[in-house]
């Protein structure tokens, strides 16, 4: 029934077999071919407008380079091989920090949701910590954890754990009294009840949290690199800025967006696989 819903209004004749999911992607409804075409056309229009503006208004390259020179900078970074260690470094940091943030956030959320005492002691401070601007805290983290990887990962984890913690708390709250009573009638112990009822109930919320956490982890990674690192996409930005190589700066920003979108898409993909019952 879900396929019928989304193929309506699709002009392209051969409807994709099966693989079509409702609400897929940010580019609305339609067959994959149509969606890709629309997305590409949209991108082309934006790039063209950018190019036209730069050319017609005669904007100097150090203020805003045209798309072609950004592409050129991208190509230069990629073909010289300079890009890959930086990209790898950032992606690895995001992955590690996000992984740790997901584990820590989920655990913390579970503890806070499950134990009243912990909630009373911990919850206010966690929220206060989260309300504090991270940019202001970043230099402090550098003082605490040094200039290297430590402070960078700390910042990423600090940003990524929060949405996961909130998601777990909200998700566990979705368990109904009836489900709890059912668990008791079936004599499920706490561990089994968690595995069979609580965790699956919280899973949709956890995925929603993970989507936010991915983006937050990315922000954390760039912030950290911007402040202290000698490597990474954030470092490429700093380098581009300090050498007035604006095309490189923009190229690094474009790569950032690509990394972020990829992370977001990966979470959505896993979510679709993991929650077939929500389709």
């Amino acid at each position: 029934m879900s396929t019928a819903e989304i193929t309506t209004g699709a002009a392209t004749p051969p409807p994709a077999p099966g693989g079509n999911r409702p609400g897929g992607g940010p580019f609305g409804k339609g067959t994959p071919l149509r969606r890709i075409t629309v997305a590409a056309a949209y991108l082309a229009v934006v790039l063209l407008a950018w190019q036209l503006y730069v050319t017609l208004a005669d904007v100097p390259s150090y203020l805003l380079p045209d798309p072609l020179s950004v592409g050129d900078a991208l190509w230069r970074l990629a073909s010289s091989g300079e890009l890959w260690p930086h990209l790898g470094y950032t992606v690895r940091n995001i992955a590690v920090g996000l992984g740790a943030g997901i584990v820590i956030g989920s655990l913390l959320g579970w503890v806070i949701a499950s134990f009243r005492t912990v909630r009373l002691i911990l919850a206010p401070y966690v929220v206060i910590l989260q309300a504090a601007p991270k940019i202001a805290l970043a230099p402090l983290l550098v003082l605490w954890f040094g200039l290297g990887l430590g402070s960078q990962l700390a910042l990423i984890v600090m940003l990524a754990f929060f949405p996961m913690m909130i998601a777990m708390m909200l998700g566990l709250g979705e368990v109904t009294d009836d489900q709890r009573a059912l668990g008791r009638v079936l004599n499920l112990g706490p561990a089994r009840f968690f595995r069979l009822v609580q965790l699956p109930t919280a899973l949709p919320a956890l995925f929603a949290g993970a989507r936010i956490a991915v983006i937050d982890a990315m922000t954390g990674a760039f912030l950290a690199e911007y402040i202290s690192a000698q490597q990474g996409l954030g470092f490429l930005m700093v380098q581009g800025r300090s050498t007035y190589d604006t095309p490189q700066l923009i190229a690094a920003v474009v790569l950032t967006v690509v990394v972020g979108l990829t992370g977001f898409a990966l979470v959505s993909l896993v979510e679709r696989r993991a929650l077939p019952w929500r389709r």
Binding site: T176, A181, L182, V185, N187, L188, L196, P200, W277
Partner: protein, 267 residues
């Protein structure tokens, strides 16, 4: 399973007296402290015997403690005075089947996997046939929906799944807390016949709570009428009908008379 053969012709009185006792509720009272700090007596000196294979309906106005009583029997509420004594103590997770007012299905499990939940979590249920789930789904006409998710089902279908989920692990007693309260009249009637069919196939002891006197009269062997605040047993009535019931039963004068009498007791 004592009277397989003469069940169809059993006179009404036989229903209660024939049954071996399954459990005995003696002097059960419950008091709780309300939000305002006042002490409220929810149940007062409730005494009731429940026989093996009996169907008992508990009716009464809202707040008379009938759901509380049911939860006590299920072991979900252990804070009370008095005793609930079983002839054989129920094994945890195995002898109580409970149906809630809402189906309370696990939405990430298919219909079949919802039904099999209670079997899965027990150690060894090789005593149950391997196609147990299919048989039960067949019994309530949902075999074609075994692989569907709960959200693809109507409210009545979901409640059917909830009922067979409670039966799947072959509990000794089936407890139902206003199981049909949220359904429309037509769906309700269908589920009543499902219950009768299930009883005919399994001879389970069934205790259910309801607001509907017709429901009580149509399904039960005995009807327990409760009075409100504090919840007491006002009376226990033998239903003057044999176990052979169908749509025509509702047209019988004796049915209407009995239901009317119950309604009078509730007023």
């Amino acid at each position: 399973m004592t009277h397989h053969t003469h069940e169809d012709t059993a006179p009404p009185e036989a229903a209660a007296t024939d049954h071996r006792r399954l459990l005995e509720i003696r002097g059960v009272s419950k008091e709780y402290v309300s939000v305002k700090g006042a002490s409220v007596r929810a149940l007062d000196d409730v005494n009731l015997d429940i026989g093996d294979g009996e169907i008992i309906a508990i009716i009464g106005p809202s707040g008379c403690g009938k759901s509380t009583l049911l939860r006590m029997v299920a072991g979900l509420d252990t804070d009370y005075e008095g005793t609930i004594e079983w002839t054989r103590a129920p094994r945890p997770g195995r002898d109580i089947g409970f149906v809630f007012q809402e189906p309370a299905l696990l939405p990430w499990r298919t219909v079949a996997r919802n039904v099999s939940l209670g079997i899965e979590v027990q150690k060894d249920r090789s005593d149950l046939p391997t196609d147990r789930v299919d048989q039960l789904l067949e019994l309530v006409g949902l075999r074609d929906f075994a692989k569907s998710y709960p959200k693809e089902l109507s409210g009545g279908m979901r409640q059917r799944v909830a009922i067979v989920r409670a039966l799947a692990y072959d509990p000794r007693i089936l407890l139902m807390d206003e199981p049909f309260g949220a359904l429309d009249a037509i769906t309700r009637d269908k589920l009543h016949d499902d219950i009768l069919r299930i009883w005919a196939a399994t001879r389970k002891t069934i205790v259910f709570v309801t607001h509907s006197v017709e429901e009580a009269a149509y399904l039960a062997d005995r009807v327990v009428v409760m009075s409100p605040r504090p919840g007491r047993l006002r009376s226990v009535h033998q239903v003057p009908l044999d176990r052979n019931r169908d749509a025509a039963t509702r047209q019988l004068p004796v049915f209407a008379e009995f239901a009317g009498m119950l309604r009078g007791e509730l007023a």
